[in-house]
């Protein structure tokens, strides 16, 4: 287990390094950052001054390592727009995104695991078809459009939920439904196939032969084994949700990190954009690392192979 943990940790670090290098390279994507900051009409002296001030005149490798070392210590530089440290902005906005992400993944799990189990109990039944229908529709419906439809329904026709802001838990209901809905198909299908496989196995037949009640067989014996792969999928989906939160947060004006990133992209506030990209990626890397460890702990075959 220790060897596996160390190997996996090394991989996570390498991935984090590569991701940070790609994120850093965004600075140079649009051309010379000094010219971009100084503006079209700036004189050569102005540009040179900015190059010195921000250190753009040094070799790129040096700039990258300085940026990466600072970033891993929580220093993402200054926001061009707000003129305050990016880290402070993130600390203010991240809790909103996290609340949204956690509630959305919880919603998805609470919806998809029972549906997956029920669908697996009676394959090809009406309920199974309904579950399939939910996932087919979920994969084809644009998330921003679904969000707008919910706004029209629950804020205009039947004003139950507020549509903008993040002050109370009510503000999170509609965004949670939209974001959670998109993780539902994948988790539901994995639960269903896992359950079908497990329900056909010998130990379930033994449990049935012993005369155990259906709910004990389903939830105590079968589901436990069927949800192991769901754990890692949920981790992956949570990472995707953070990325997808940018669309949802901007529609509901939920002031989270995704919304901050979208605003900052519009304002050319590159340090903030880079920080959000890096933080979201790191979340994904840490989550998949933890879920791999959990899987290795649950299933000894993984850590040996």
């Amino acid at each position: 287990m220790l060897v596996y943990t160390l190997k996996r940790l090394l991989l996570a670090l390498l991935v984090a390094m590569t991701v940070s290098a790609i994120t850093f390279s965004l600075t140079y994507l649009a051309g010379d950052p000094a010219i971009a900051m100084a503006g079209e009409t700036a004189s050569d002296a102005d540009i040179e001054y900015i190059e010195k001030l921000y250190g753009f005149d040094r070799p790129i490798v040096v700039q990258y390592f300085e940026w990466a070392l600072n970033a891993f210590q929580g220093d993402f530089g200054q926001s061009f727009y707000f003129r305050i440290p990016v880290a402070d902005l993130l600390l203010e906005r991240l809790p909103v995104s996290m609340t949204l992400g956690v509630s959305a993944i919880s919603f998805a799990i609470l919806l998809s695991i029972p549906l997956g189990v029920l669908a697996a109990m009676r394959p090809n039944s009406l309920l199974d078809r309904l579950a399939l229908g939910i996932s087919v529709v979920g994969q084809a419906m644009p998330s921003f459009w679904f969000a707008l439809v919910l706004i029209v329904m629950f804020a205009v026709w039947y004003p139950v939920f507020p549509t903008t802001g993040s002050e109370t838990w009510l503000h999170f209901v509609l965004p949670t439904i939209v974001l959670g809905y998109y993780a539902t198909p994948a988790i539901m299908r994995l639960t269903r196939t896992g359950m079908l496989e497990v329900l056909g196995s010998d130990y379930i037949r033994t449990a049935r032969a012993k005369g155990l009640p259906q709910h004990v067989i389903l939830f105590k014996h079968a589901l436990r084994n069927a949800v192991i792969p769901v754990v890692s999928l949920a981790a992956v989906q949570f990472g995707f949700m953070l990325g997808g939160s940018i669309v949802i947060e901007s529609i509901f004006a939920l002031h989270g990190a995704g919304y901050l990133a979208w605003e900052s992209i519009g304002r050319n506030d590159l340090p903030v954009v880079q920080a959000v990209v890096l933080v979201f990626s790191l979340f994904y890397i840490v989550l998949t690392f933890l879920s791999d460890l959990l899987n290795a702990w649950l299933d000894p075959r993984i850590r040996v192979g």
């Binding site: 991989l11 390498l14 991935v15 984090a16 590569t18 991701v19 790609i22 965004l26 994507l29 649009a30 087919v136 529709v137 994969q139 084809a140 419906m141 644009p142 998330s143 921003f144 459009w145 707008l148 439809v149 706004i151 029209v152 205009v156 992956v236 990472g239 995707f240 953070l242 990325g243 997808g244 940018i246 669309v247 901007s250 995704g258 990133a261 979208w262 992209i265 519009g266 050319n268 954009v273 959000v276 990209v277 979201f280 990626s281 994904y284 890397i285 998949t288």
Partner: protein, 302 residues
């Protein structure tokens, strides 16, 4: 005894021939409801996109400023603008028809670029294994760690939004699923006896890859291509909706939803029509992809 039975009008053995493989395939295709429905919708949207220059009732860019935000014909509108007009008085039906061109172009082109990248990486990893596999797996992990929407938005905003930029960015971002699927499919095919036989008679590696491996992973490739096409279309719509994708005045469906969202309180049809168009297109592509998988799946072959 047997001859008498045979002579009583029962067909002779040579007359009982099963359907040919071609007939079986056709039966599976035409008997697959999802594939037929999806294929039907896709053909309609495709024809709509192709025929837009001839059949569209109006110029999609012409602004009839005296006829702004006119509702579609089934509410209070008239037959001059069947699906109504947008906030600048442009005919909605014409814009939907031209918008189909944009969605289909982006879907095909992005799925093609990412397909070339992902298939190359995946097949190389699956066939050569070892270090190549390690590097490719690492690249896939890195790619999966980066939030797609955010990176695409940032890159498009930095370079400047245009059709070419959106296609290239999506093509360069969406290759991960190809690589994953092609890698495991190639690993399975590599174990086959006919690959070993081809090696034994001295076929070169490129020849084995092109004539032994590729034809046998083709069905997987097509299925992933449909998924990624749908993915690219939805992402383009989301990027355009957020204002960092296809730029106005191009009639992108995502952009149309974005332009209509100021009117959702009273003119909900303005977002409903392009939204339904997007939904139908992506649904059709997904149904076709699932159908191709069902029809060509090895376990269904006799």
């Amino acid at each position: 005894m047997t001859t008498t039975i045979a002579n009583r009008g029962l067909p002779a053995a040579e007359d009982i021939v099963g359907p040919t493989p071609g007939q079986q395939l056709r039966r599976r295709i035409f008997g697959h409801r999802g594939l037929m429905i999806g294929g039907g919708i896709l053909v309609i949207i495709f024809l709509m996109a192709l025929s837009a220059p001839f059949l569209a009732p109006h110029d999609p860019y012409f602004q009839e400023l005296l006829a702004r935000v006119k509702p579609p014909v089934w509410t209070t509108g008239d037959w001059k603008h069947v699906l109504g007009t947008d906030q600048l008085g442009r005919d909605y039906l014409s814009r939907i028809m031209y918008g189909a061109q944009i969605s289909l172009l982006i879907g095909f082109a992005a799925a093609f670029i990412s397909g070339v990248i992902g298939t190359t990486l995946g097949v190389a990893a699956g066939y050569f294994g070892g270090r190549v596999d390690m590097v490719v797996t690492f690249l896939i992990t890195v790619r999966l760690s980066m939030p797609v929407v955010l990176v695409a938005l940032a890159v498009v905003a930095l370079i400047g939004g245009s059709l070419t930029v959106v296609i290239s960015v999506l093509g360069l971002l969406l290759w991960d699923r190809y690589a994953v699927v092609m890698r495991s499919a190639t690993m399975q095919i590599r174990q086959m006896d006919y690959v070993a036989a081809a090696k034994a008679v001295g076929c070169s590696t490129p020849r084995i890859l092109l004539t032994e491996i590729m034809p046998n992973i083709m069905n997987n490739l097509i299925v992933v291509a449909t998924l990624e096409m749908a993915h690219a279309i939805l992402l383009e719509a989301a990027l355009s909706f957020l204002g960092m994708g296809v730029q106005p005045p191009l009639p992108s469906w995502g952009l149309m939803v974005s332009e209509g969202k100021d009117y959702i309180l009273f003119e909900a049809w303005m977002i409903t029509i392009p939204g339904v168009a997007l939904f139908l297109l992506v649904l059709a592509i997904n149904l076709v992809g699932d159908g191709i998988r069902d029809v060509t799946a090895p376990e269904n072959r006799n």
